[in-house]
């Protein structure tokens, strides 16, 4: 059982709340503090490894990545960040999210595993190329999108582990809003055909939206909305943390019927 499996098991059917944070944003030290703050509210993390040319990300996450890289973020600093977080938290799962080129030229997957991360999500590595990944204990997270048809969903579900990430919009992060009715059918189809949980991400801006999505999914992933709060309060850390806490607290009601 992986840490991700344990986490879902402990939820006992309650909805999971995951946030996406960009490694090294707004800087390494603050990023760790934000992770520690978030860990009080979230069930797990996606930790983004910044990339120079993030083709699946909208302006908010792209800008965050650029700033992180300027501040010196790297695969090495991201591994260090996970190790530091693990010193005080051995429970909250972490999914390393990034682009394939960051892990293509190195043996980093073993190091990601050893750092204390639990999953790996590579935006631009389709399932046909998973054979390139070395053997690992990390859960390799698979994506399903609104353009994925039923026969491909079956292919993707074969051998899936951890959870399924349903990308609720055809587009880049932080742009369109998820249309809950349009995605409900696909998520229900996925859940009928797999035993692992199905999380929904992209286009979920607030707790209201999250609650609607959670009526049929196993949880939600929030990225750009959180990055936005950080980006709007770069000069006032106290304010940033207060606003983050306010935003996160609203999501603790995910399991309350509206």
């Amino acid at each position: 059982m992986s840490r991700i499996d344990d986490m879902f098991k402990d939820l006992k059917g309650k909805k999971a709340f995951c946030v996406y944070l960009m490694s090294g944003y707004p800087d390494n030290e603050t990023c760790l503090e934000i992770m520690e703050l978030c860990s009080k509210y979230v069930d797990f993390f996606e930790l983004g490894m910044p990339f120079s040319d993030p083709s699946a990300d909208g302006p908010l996450i792209k800008t965050a990545g650029t700033i992180a890289l300027e501040k010196g973020a790297s695969t090495k600093s991201t591994l260090e960040l996970i190790k530091k977080f693990r010193k005080t938290n051995n429970k909250t799962p972490i999914v390393w999210m990034g682009y394939y080129n960051s892990i293509f030229n190195s043996n980093i997957i073993k190091e990601i595993e050893l750092s204390g991360a639990d999953g790996l999500l590579t935006v631009d590595l389709p399932i046909e190329e998973f054979k390139r990944l070395p053997k690992t204990n990390l859960d390799i997270i698979r994506l399903i999108t609104p353009t994925t048809d039923k026969s491909r969903i079956s292919e993707i579900l074969k051998g899936a582990s951890g959870f399924i990430y349903f990308v609720s919009i055809a587009g880049i992060t932080g742009t369109k809003e998820a249309q809950d009715l349009a995605i409900k059918n696909t998520v229900e189809y996925i859940k009928a055909n797999t035993t692992i949980p199905c999380m929904v991400g992209f286009g979920i801006r607030d707790a209201q939206k999250a609650k609607k999505i959670c009526k049929f999914s196993d949880g939600v992933i929030v990225g750009s909305a959180l990055i936005k709060i950080i980006s709007q309060n770069l000069n006032n850390k106290k304010e940033m943390f207060a606003k983050l806490e306010e935003f996160l607290a609203a999501f603790t009601q995910l399991n309350v019927e509206l």
């Binding site: 040319d53 083709s55 890289l69 080129n101 293509f104 389709p126 994506l143 994925t148 880049i172 369109k176």
Partner: protein, 399 residues
Amino acid sequence: MNYPDEYGYFKEFGGVFVAETLIPLVKNLQNEWNKAKNDPEFWNKINYYHKYYTGRPSPLYYAQRLSEYLGGAKIYLKREDLNHTGAHKINHCIGQILLAQKMGKTRIIAETGAGQHGVATATACALFGMKCIIYQGAIDIERQKPNAFRMKLLGAELHAVEDGSKTLKDAVTAAMQDWVSNVDDTYYLLGSVMGPHPYPEMIRTFQSVIGQEVKAQIQELEGRLPDSIVACVGGGSNAMGIFYPFIEDKEVSLIGVEAGGLGLDTKYHAATLAKGKKGVFHGMLSYFIQNDDGQIIEPYSVSAGLDYPGIGPEHAMLRDSKRAEYTSIKDNEALDAFHKLSTLEGIIPALESAHAIAWAIKKAPELPKNHIMVVNVSGRGDKDIFTVADKMGVKICQE
């Protein structure tokens, strides 16, 4: 064996590395392309437009004064600069727009560096009544003003890309983001032998008309194959187009010329094969200029069309198998060649093509007089006169 294989690999290079959202679109494009490439009706249409619209075949011209001036190899110029729109890019635009039309797509997106592919795409869209959106880096728009304006005149919507280095790499990323966001009605009309399969194969096939013509023309003029063929390489479309029909003719040397910028010992170049490492970017496994941590490094060249940190996967294969040789030419050498061709032959080449000409100027004097060298003049230089004037310290228009 013929490359790519059914998975889009040129030996270890190529493939399909895109976000899951795009996978069904890429597979659909593979199916449509596989049907079209064996459909004589489809090729009849392409050939019709090549002949009556683009003005093909383009001449193969013996550059007598240049050859005599250099005193070595006999240099022929393949005049892709004489095509309608002024470059080879129209070859793959006609092919792709006909495919887009077959697929029922109504909205065309494309990236452009120097603006040659953007102009050719905008032209094809006007010709077929399609909506056209072009992404071009803000810096490239500035250094290629005539082409930027030309695209607007042709009815295209021009989007300035302000991300990253604001050049070709960022324009490709922006176009891919548009594609992922508009999956139903949009065809991504890629401008080089790069990106996910089937683009590298498809664009090479459309561009192969250049090499096929050269083969027939040189037979007629010289009664034999050339000894060497030279072309500039950014993504590599004009080079692949002129190389491909000669791949099996092992006696013909194939030489690709990358942009050496300010020199390979500086950070300012776009010489991917010389200085890049294997990686995955923009949908393909190939060589890329990147740091040790896999971050793509912003390239540099005086020529906007060569200013790209990657290279088409087939070139990566040809280099590693040693079937083709790749070299580089610096900014100042390309500028010098730009002037030489203008004054010796009355042909103003694109700064991209000037890199291939510069290599010929460098090598021809060392070669015997019976050495036949074909240089691909992939585009004309009208778009570059502002850049060149600036380098010469000449002011040619009032602010």
